[in-house]
């Protein structure tokens, strides 16, 4: 028996504690979300009719199963508010991810072309904002974008505008906030693939007479696609469910699904509908989530 295999046995035991923890606090809660999404709304505390009580025995369980209703899901499908919220979430996420790719790619590309020792510095510089608080970074933009904020003062001083522009509570402000917050998530996977790329490939293409733009489109970009995929998923999935940024920066006339879920839960106290909204959100994200998980797994485990 090789020592590698002897080592593996106690290593497997290390899984027990985190396994139990994640099962209890990540997997089981989803069962509750599913259960409550199928129950009736009630004006009580907690505000839902319990669907089943395992202590009441098999007969009670059967009766409870018969009482499950998909009314909450029907409501989600028929009420325009929810349909609009899902459509808006997906539109915002697609647009924002495209913007992130557009702005993130040149930065990652520039990083990958720096001399080796500067690359490490640039990487730290990109990671550091990711460590500072999300909420604080959004708040920093409220400071800048408000009516008499810095941006309007600069624009007025340069005589680019004659009146202060309304920035807050607009989609522009929201997109600025999203791009600002998620930029490191896009740059890092892009940089990781671009830095590994063999520079000789680009040089060969340009030695053979390809103009720089062709070199980029025909050589660099196709080779960086794994990084593009990782960056896109890493940004797209959380943006679909984003709450804080649209809540603080966008207007309140068109809500994203994270905001409707929050509203149903905290303001309307309609837990079953909030749960149903979460289930639908999860179903929408299932495919990108599975793709992301495969990517993450391959990346972490191929090095073994």
């Amino acid at each position: 028996m090789s020592s590698r295999r002897i080592f593996a046995r106690p290593a497997r035991f290390a899984a027990i504690a985190p396994y139990v923890w994640m099962a209890l606090f990540f997997l089981v809660p989803f069962a509750f979300v599913l259960k409550i999404s199928l129950s009736q709304t009630a004006i009580a505390q907690p505000p839902y009719e319990p669907v089943f009580d395992l202590t009441a025995g098999w007969e009670a369980l059967k009766a409870a199963l018969a009482a499950l209703s998909i009314d909450n899901f029907r409501l989600l499908g028929s009420d325009d508010i929810y349909v609009f919220a899902y459509v808006r979430s997906l539109t915002v996420a697609v647009t924002a991810t495209a913007l992130l790719l557009l702005f993130g790619y040149p930065i990652a590309y520039g990083m990958a072309r720096l001399p080796k020792r500067w690359q490490a510095v640039a990487m730290v510089l990109v990671i550091v904002p990711f460590w500072t608080s999300f909420l604080i970074r959004i708040y920093a933009w409220i400071n800048i974008l408000q009516h008499d904020g810095l941006l309007n003062q600069i624009l007025l001083a340069l005589h680019l505008v004659s009146q202060p522009v309304v920035w807050l509570s607009t989609d522009t402000a929201m997109y600025i906030g999203i791009v600002y917050s998620y930029l490191p998530f896009m740059i890092l996977p892009l940089y990781a693939t671009l830095a590994k790329m063999e520079p000789a490939l680009e040089e060969a293409a340009s030695d053979l007479g390809a103009p720089p733009w062709h070199v980029f489109w025909l050589v660099t970009f196709p080779l960086s696609l794994p990084g593009v995929g990782a960056g896109v998923l890493l940004c797209f999935i959380p943006i679909v469910g984003e709450f804080v940024i649209p809540d603080l920066l966008a207007g309140s006339n068109a809500l994203m699904i994270g905001q409707t879920l929050w509203l149903e839960f905290f303001t309307n106290k309609d837990w079953p509908v909030a749960s149903a909204a979460a289930i639908v959100l999860l179903v929408v994200l299932l495919l990108p989530l599975l793709l992301y998980e495969r990517l993450q797994k391959r990346q972490l485990e191929q090095r073994r």
Binding site: P18, P129, P238, F265, Q296
Partner: protein, 270 residues
Amino acid sequence: MRKVSRLSRFNIASLALGLAFLYLPILILVLYSFNASRLVTVWGGWSLRWYREFFKDRAMIEAAWMSLRVAVSSATIATLLGTLAAVALSRGERFRGRTLFSGMLYAPLVMPEVITGLSLLLLFVALNAERGFWTVTIAHTTLTMCFVAVVVQSRLGSLDRSLEEAAMDLGCNPVRAFMAVTLPLIAPAIVAGWMLAFTLSLDDLVIASFTTGPGSATLPIRIYSEVRLGVKPEINAICTLVIALIAVVIVIASLASKLSSSQGESAAPL
């Protein structure tokens, strides 16, 4: 012969603009926290007035204390569990339920926080748990242990396994080999994982809002409810203090990984 210049003007411009975009808003925030004027946008000279206001604000101080306690406890539990998970995934070869295990560990990294928060709250309500310090700590541990697992696993993956095997060939049992050889080598990643868990917990608004109870707001919850009412200079001061705390944490983390950089490639926080 023509030499292809690696760094074009376009590369330098996009890097400079990108970094300016990332840092300017934070710098402006820090600068305005020292502004004497009550109007956030009018510069009225240097002052520490808003820091004094913060230290007089009892509710804010209590929220900050709550956040610190949650961040330290959840980061510590998460580091323990996350490291165990990373060891199991990178050294455990095949075991039953491995796919489910890794799935549960990678999904929360990108799962929208509203879903994680809502599902945990429903669990706590069903268990009839009193909501407050412990429920938020459990919720944050669940999220951040996944980040710790990824950071430590990526370090374990880049480690030369023949070192462990040599220790065992020389007569160590697996546990001893791990303690004597592997653990010191992955220590920087474990430290970086703890720091990451700490800052993520300190930062979280959404999950904490779902899982906390009345009377035990965390700092982000307090800041959020103030920000919704408008920009206040006092918030600038609090945010600057949080940024300073995180900066100290980053410096410690990078020193920790530098100390062991001679032992191989340094551990990146992500």
